[in-house]
């Protein structure tokens, strides 16, 4: 069985947000909505201080609280054990947003046609076409670039990363590159103690 996962080496991430923009371009998410974000922060006190970055998106948990919390079954695991949202079933109750410990979900409640990027802006035909992929009144999240991975390609954020800080692969395949790198870098999921079994691993966390 396939279980797609991701490894992010935070120690080499430059915090450039190229992944954020690649995701936005790939998935044409509505304005103001980012499925892939790079959180930034500071730690310590001068002179022993530094900056930290943390790329964040859906962790595609194997015991996902959002899937069990969804009252209509709109959140589900696909054939690659990635968590997806069936927009037809979603009623926009936002229970899943509350349930997600990683704040990986976004509520789409703004009509792009009535709320343009800026005053006077008119959507292009391409933008209108892609906007139709995002119905209003539902909850959205990272889909692990399912169209790309179905064709054997890497997710857009992995492909774009300028410092090659991301790896993508099958976590159920012990010989996969991602599993080797997880071992090599000693990577772990975020907030492991919650028992959500994320499929995204992090190395180099401060």
């Amino acid at each position: 069985m396939t279980r797609y996962g991701m490894l992010i080496d935070v120690s080499t991430c430059a915090g450039c947000d190229a992944c954020t923009m690649a995701c936005k371009y790939q998935n044409a998410t509505p304005s103001g909505m980012y499925w892939c974000k790079v959180l930034k922060g500071e730690y310590g006190e001068y002179p022993n201080s530094g900056q930290t970055v943390l790329p964040m998106a859906c962790q595609h948990c194997q015991d996902a609280p959002c899937v069990s919390a969804c009252p209509t079954g709109a959140s589900f695991y696909d054939e690659n054990r990635c968590v997806q949202v069936d927009y037809e079933k979603c009623i926009g109750c936002r229970m899943c947003i509350n349930a997600c410990p990683y704040n990986a979900r976004s509520y789409h409640d703004v009509d792009q046609k009535t709320t343009p990027y800026y005053e006077g802006y008119e959507m292009t035909p391409y933008e209108e076409m892609r906007a139709a992929e995002h119905p209003i009144g539902v909850v959205e999240k990272c889909v692990m670039c399912k169209e790309r991975t179905a064709q054997g390609e890497e997710p857009s954020c992995v492909k774009t990363c300028i410092t090659k800080s991301r790896w993508f692969g099958d976590l159920d395949d012990p010989t996969s590159e991602i599993n080797e790198m997880i071992k090599k870098l000693g990577a772990k999921p975020l907030m492991e103690d919650l028992g959500t079994e994320p499929s995204v691993y992090y190395a180099g966390l401060v």
């Binding site: 974000k37 964040m56 509350n98």
Partner: protein, 370 residues
């Protein structure tokens, strides 16, 4: 109609309620046009005023139904409580609808649900409470003792289970550890009875009777409510763990004024009045308002100190401003549209209650008939 209240009061309150309903409908149209900023709901504060209103009506409705179910004397007093309890419980369900992005899909909650979801506890228990509540009204109104007795048992059990189920649902949500404290289960149940007592006391004042509820019981329950909150606060001092830091955030963050208003005006003052037997109706109103404020504070508590805040020290979330103290997320202030829709639900609850109490559904209160 069988007007039992002062006709001028009925007409005046009815007119205000109709205005509130009209404003709410206008706001609802705005909301479902999905214009930016119509509601203050974000991906960081996903639940707000509507959920608070649901919790308030649930507590008041379940409390009234519980008292109607367990009350022995005075058939008419029980009937009034049952009628108002059913209306308030139904309005709890109604308060949720405008919170849904796609309310037309709510049929899925009944016919294609994910039974693992704790949200269904609310849906099914509320439905069961409403069904038994209506049966209780029928049993009491048609003077069918067997039906009234069976419905009383069902109503009492499901009214308690409804509030318990909601409290458990909130405690089970891993993404919002601010809701995790199990003390809230006790607080919810106590507040349910407080709200029920307050509704009964106000009903007595409005309809000119006073039999069913001891004001001292309501006062004692307010003291119990304060004691559980104090216990939760003391745990903070000794443990200072993550879940309790959310409680600290509402006590000393942006929402502190609401929290302390609720404590003083919603608990301390009404408890003092009720225990001394003075200004009972004012105290009941304050207690009810205190429950409403408490529900709002509880709902926002989940979002202002969320689980993801513990991912890594010093990180900040894009688009959010840090606030001072323990609060992590900018205060949620309901929009004008949210207030108008909430006002409409309250107006509808008052209007329906008034109409029902002044209809032939509730006979003229004559103690000799009870």
């Amino acid at each position: 109609m069988d007007i039992k209240m002062n006709k001028n009061v009925v007409l005046g309150v009815g007119a205000v309620c109709l205005v509130l309903l009209a404003m709410g409908l206008f706001a609802l149209v705005q909301q479902y046009s999905f214009v930016e900023g119509v509601t203050s709901i974000t991906s960081y504060v996903p639940w707000g005023l509507y959920i608070s209103l649901f919790l308030f009506f649930e507590a008041a409705g379940a409390g009234a139904l519980l008292l109607a179910a367990v009350g022995k004397p005075a058939m008419v007093s029980r009937l009034k409580l049952a009628v108002v309890g059913v209306i308030f419980s139904a309005c709890a369900g109604l308060a949720i609808l405008p919170d849904l992005g796609r309310p037309l899909g709510m049929w899925r909650l009944f016919f294609a649900p994910n039974i693992a979801s704790p949200l269904l506890l609310d849906v099914w228990l509320l439905s069961a409470t409403l069904v038994f509540g209506v049966l209780l009204i029928v049993g009491l109104r048609l003077a069918k003792p067997a039906l009234a007795k069976a419905a009383s048992i069902g109503t009492g059990v499901f009214a308690v289970l409804l509030v318990l189920g909601t409290a458990i649902m909130f405690c089970s949500i891993p993404g919002k550890i601010g809701w995790e404290s199990t003390a809230e289960i006790g607080i919810s149940l106590v507040q349910m009875v407080i709200a029920g007592c307050a509704v009964a006391l106000l009903l007595d004042a409005v309809t000119g009777t006073a039999r069913n509820v001891s004001s001292k019981l309501a006062g004692a329950l307010l003291v119990a409510n304060a004691a559980i909150m104090l216990g939760e606060g003391m745990l903070l001092a000794y443990r200072g763990d993550f879940a309790l830091r959310a409680f600290e955030a509402v006590m000393f963050g942006t929402y502190a004024w609401i929290f302390w208003t609720q404590v003083v005006a919603g608990i301390v003052v009404p408890a003092a009045l009720l225990l001394r037997g003075r200004g009972v109706q004012v105290a009941a109103g304050l207690a009810l308002a205190g429950v409403a404020l408490s529900k709002f504070v509880y709902v926002v508590r989940g979002s202002i100190y969320p689980t993801y805040g513990e991912i890594s020290e010093g990180l900040f979330i894009p688009f959010l401003q840090h606030t001072s103290g323990p609060q992590m997320v900018t205060a949620y202030v309901p929009s004008a549209s949210e207030f108008m829709v909430a006002g409409a639900v309250i107006g509808l609850a008052v209007l329906l209650s008034m109409a029902a109490l002044n209809s032939k559904l509730v006979p003229t209160d004559n103690p000799a008939n009870d």
